[in-house]
């Protein structure tokens, strides 16, 4: 399989993208309400619902399947709640008990149904779907022919089902956005405002069950779980507001579905290998997106927080270096006392201070006038804090140094203008322009 073929790839890709968007949209509210695993539980426990609906109605029509799944989804939520409340079982364990028993029931039922013959309900297909069955035989060769009315007739039922489900989920979220947002962040307030957060919760769970069943035929339940959780989790790491989070999660779902599909078909094809399972590959793509967000998120990522910590450490080391030089000059010692900085950090701090014009470039380094001003402020804050901790907080004079050593690096300083610190050393008076100090007493 080389490149993108309309016949082979159009409808499977469309189905995968629609399933991913539906789940990605609903997943935002699950992740916010810490119910991610409810999606996992429901997608396991719709299995018996599907089989029982099939046995009762003797048909595989989407409506029957949807009803079965919706009933199973709500039953899961209710049962988990019952086990949790009545049995006083820990929430995670309650969920584990309910969904594994229901799933086992589903597996057992499916094996009985199989024995009746001519049934294509298959436990494996529930897990990872059958995207390849959506391939379009008799597809036109060119893109322009796609726009003919005949194309619409060729669209497989699964794609229509998914389209309907996506439309339903979008309308649900758009119409109840305000309520969903409130219920996600403060269910108690939501209920006291006059709409029922539990009712909304059940409606959401019905939709999750619906999304699961609409998707399971095409992409399987494992992708449903991945798409319910991963795009929303990645978006949660990238944004701090709900609307942008939803937008980012939809984009992530789209990228994961399309990228995973291409990764499953085109990439092995390029190496002359057979295609791998597309649903699994999309889950992996979603995982890659989460990993990317974990590493590179501008506010919450590993890289940015490492850079922030590094910058803070450098500024602290620079303060300590300047204050050490100031104290040495004050006591007439030729070299500053040991600052506790390693040689590497000392070199980095003095380089930074030189570039900022706080240290002279010659050897030995001396404080420039600007450097002396900065150092004086650090020492002043240190001694003011020591004074404050002894006089106002009642600490012993020999216990205040470590605290003051930390507080001197913040812009805060206690108000007042005492002459000396508890150790009898002079507190340098504030120079004009007055440094930004705030009254914290």
């Amino acid at each position: 399989m080389n490149g993108f073929g309309i016949g082979a790839d159009l409808f499977p890709l469309l189905a995968a993208v629609l399933a991913a968007l539906t789940c990605g949209l609903l997943g935002n509210f699950l992740v916010l309400r810490r119910l991610s695993l409810m999606g996992d539980a429901i997608s396991h426990s719709v299995l018996p619902g599907l089989v029982i609906a099939f046995l009762i109605a003797a048909s595989r029509s989407p409506l029957v399947m949807f009803l079965g799944a919706a009933v199973a989804g709500v039953a899961t939520v209710v049962l988990v709640e019952l086990v949790k409340r009545l049995g006083r079982v820990e929430p995670g364990a309650a969920m584990g008990v309910v969904f594994s028993v229901l799933f086992a029931l589903g597996v057992l039922l499916i094996r009985q149904v199989e024995s009746l013959g001519n049934i294509d309900l298959d436990a494996d297909c529930v897990l990872h779907g059958q995207l390849e069955t959506l391939a379009w035989f008799g597809a036109p060769d060119s893109w322009s022919d796609l726009l003919s009315p005949a194309t619409l007739g060729a669209v497989p039922r699964q794609v229509w089902t998914l389209l309907g489900m996506f439309a339903l989920a979008s309308v649900f979220v758009a119409a109840l956005f305000k309520e969903l947002r409130l219920a996600a962040f403060d269910p108690a307030l939501a209920t006291s405002q006059g709409f029922s957060a539990p009712a909304l919760h059940y409606a959401l769970m019905v939709l999750v069950a619906g999304a699961t069943v609409a998707s399971f035929e095409a992409v399987g339940s494992i992708l449903v779980i991945a798409m319910l959780i991963c795009p929303a989790a990645a978006a949660r790491l990238l944004t701090d507001r709900l609307l942008p989070q939803i937008a980012v999660s939809l984009l992530a779902a789209l990228v994961a579905a399309a990228g995973g599909y291409l990764g499953a078909t085109a990439v092995p094809g390029a190496f002359g290998l057979g295609a791998v399972n597309a649903a699994g590959s999309m889950s992996v793509a979603a995982g890659v997106l989460v990993a990317g967000a974990v590493v590179a998120s501008p506010r919450h990522g590993l890289v940015s927080s490492w850079l922030r910590r590094r910058a803070l450490a450098l500024s602290v080391a620079r303060d300590d270096l300047l204050a050490g030089l100031y104290r040495a000059a004050e006591s007439g010692a030729p070299t500053p006392a040991h600052t506790g900085l390693s040689a590497v950090r000392m070199a980095r701090a003095s380089g930074s201070a030189r570039r900022a014009g706080l240290l002279s470039t010659g050897e030995p380094a001396r404080l420039t006038p600007a450097g002396e001003h900065a150092a004086r402020e650090v020492v002043r804050r240190h001694r003011l804090w020591e004074h404050y901790l002894v006089e106002e907080a009642g600490l012993a004079p020999d216990h205040v140094h470590p605290t003051a050593e930390k507080l001197e690096h913040t812009p805060l300083a206690p108000a007042g203008d005492p002459a000396t610190d508890p150790h009898g050393r002079p507190i340098p008076p504030a120079l004009a322009p007055d440094p930004p100090s705030r009254d914290i007493s």
Binding site: G87, V89, V97, I229, N277, A286
Partner: protein, 466 residues
């Protein structure tokens, strides 16, 4: 081929396919059932049954600690995360010239990727602001997806085919040979022995990890060891019950056992027994009947035990709790009725029909409940019905009403004088507390109030009304 079912005993009828009626014809005879149950049905079947039973015991014992550490769903992620390891171990072994289908190789791969999954969860929790539910869900779905990719790659490209790797998803006791079952049994047995040897350390960490840390115990290492035992059980159960359902064997028996006992050693023993019984029954049913996957039957058996435990357990069971609550509510209803009777009797009046209706509507009693209260009190001789539909309390009934009424007043006075609550706000609380004050507490209240010069007139407990 009939995945999931243990190979039938040699003289068993061959598995039938077709209509449900034929399935019914395939039911085993009594002799065969007894032989399988008593382990006389053939060496292979016996080994599988024994191995599964031992697996159930191990999962039950070790699941207790996972439950107490609130790690139930972490084990779910762990078991899903074993799939890519199985596939990669198969490919790696093939590349090294070892037989990729050798069970120890596959299980080693499964354990490695399962552990990697747990490490990923810990890293997500440690380094991001994602909550545990999202971290578990991400690892579960992404690792499982990766496993599906690897398996489909093997299916499409590996020369020797991946026949049999799928069995790890749903489990397949039919494919288990004697050696496989023995491997499973020895892993499970080893895990149980380690857990029992370290019972004290595991208990300490489960109940008070901060105390354990202060006491110098290596809490991190003990935690790690516990996760290691969970990995062992999961991996041991992969072939028999499959990676989706093996987690149920770790979760359900301890939760079911928890309803019956408050003591840890009993919990461990009970959970092991429940797990072992489920494993035994599941594998026996699967050996006797066609199309009964052992994993599903084991989980459903354990689920049935769970349901019975939740309903029937004497102290924590739903029925017992319901009964306690109903008894309590009936007593409170009777207290309220007699209290009103007593207060009316102070003015020389009996409770009229209208007054009773008002009481019922204030207390939101449905009609049948009001009838039940009155009937019970009447049977006990605490009150009698008057011809006009009202109630007249007997001496004993008035005494009980007086006691409740006095408790109410005592508690109100206590709240006003000792808890600084406004007099207009004490009625509601007193209305609830009046039913549960013990004699001892009443004596304490009397002396506390007496010390402040507050007296509440009326009889003390057990004495007749004035």
């Amino acid at each position: 081929m009939d995945p999931g079912a243990i190979q039938p005993a040699p003289h068993a009828p061959p598995p039938v396919t077709g209509s449900l009626a034929e399935v019914a014809d395939g039911l085993p005879g009594v002799r065969e059932i007894v032989e399988t149950l008593t382990l006389r049905a053939g060496f292979n079947t016996n080994t599988v049954i024994l191995g599964t039973t031992l697996l159930g015991v191990a999962a039950g014992v070790i699941g207790v600690f996972a439950l107490l550490r609130k790690r139930s769903l972490v084990t779910d992620a762990l078991s899903h995360a074993t799939l890519p390891g199985i596939g990669l171990a198969f490919l790696g072994a093939g590349a090294l010239g070892v037989d990729g289908r050798s069970l120890p190789v596959l299980l080693a791969g499964a354990a490695a990727s399962g552990v990697l999954g747990v490490v990923c969860i810990q890293a997500l929790l440690r380094f991001t602001r994602l909550r545990e539910d999202a971290a578990i869900g991400i690892v579960l779905s992404v690792f499982f997806g990766a496993g599906v990719v690897v398996l489909s790659y093997i299916q499409a490209n590996a020369a020797s085919g991946a026949a049999g790797l799928n069995k790890f998803i749903y489990g397949q006791t039919a494919a288990m040979g004697m050696r496989d079952a023995a491997l499973m049994a020895s892993i499970a047995g080893g895990a149980v022995v380690v857990a029992l040897l370290l019972l004290k350390e595991l208990t300490l960490v489960c109940f008070d990890d901060a105390f354990a840390r202060v006491g110098g115990w290596p809490v991190g290492a003990i935690d790690l060891l516990m996760m290691g035992l969970v990995v062992l059980v999961t991996v041991a159960g992969l072939q028999a019950v499959g990676l989706i359902l093996v987690v149920a064997m770790l979760i359900i028996p301890p939760v079911a056992a928890r309803f019956w006992t408050e003591r840890l050693w009993l919990l461990v023993a009970l959970s092991g027994v429940i797990g072992g019984a489920s494993g035994y029954l599941g594998s026996v049913v699967s050996a006797l009947l066609p199309r009964k996957p052992a994993g599903a039957v084991i989980v459903l058996t354990a689920g049935a035990v769970f349901a019975c435990s939740m309903l029937l357990a004497p102290a924590r069971g739903v029925l017992a709790a319901g009964l306690r609550m109903a008894t309590m509510r009936a007593r409170i209803g009777a207290d309220h009725t007699l209290e009103v009777c007593y207060e009316l009797s102070l003015g020389g009046a009996a409770m009229s029909r209208e007054r009773l209706s008002r009481l019922a509507s204030v207390r939101a009693w449905p009609g049948w409940y009001r009838w039940l209260i009155v009937a019970t009190l009447e049977r006990r001789g605490l009150l009698s019905r008057t011809p006009d539909g009202g109630l007249r309390a007997s001496e004993a009934g008035l005494a009980r009403g007086a006691r409740v009424s006095r408790n109410h007043r005592l508690w109100e006075q206590y709240l006003i004088s000792h808890a600084d609550i406004a007099p207009s706000h004490v009625d509601w609380s007193a209305d609830q507390v009046e039913h549960v004050l013990s004699d001892e507490l009443i004596a304490q209240l009397e002396s506390a109030l007496g010390a402040r010069g507050v007296t509440v007139p009326g009889a003390g407990p057990g004495r007749a009304a004035p």
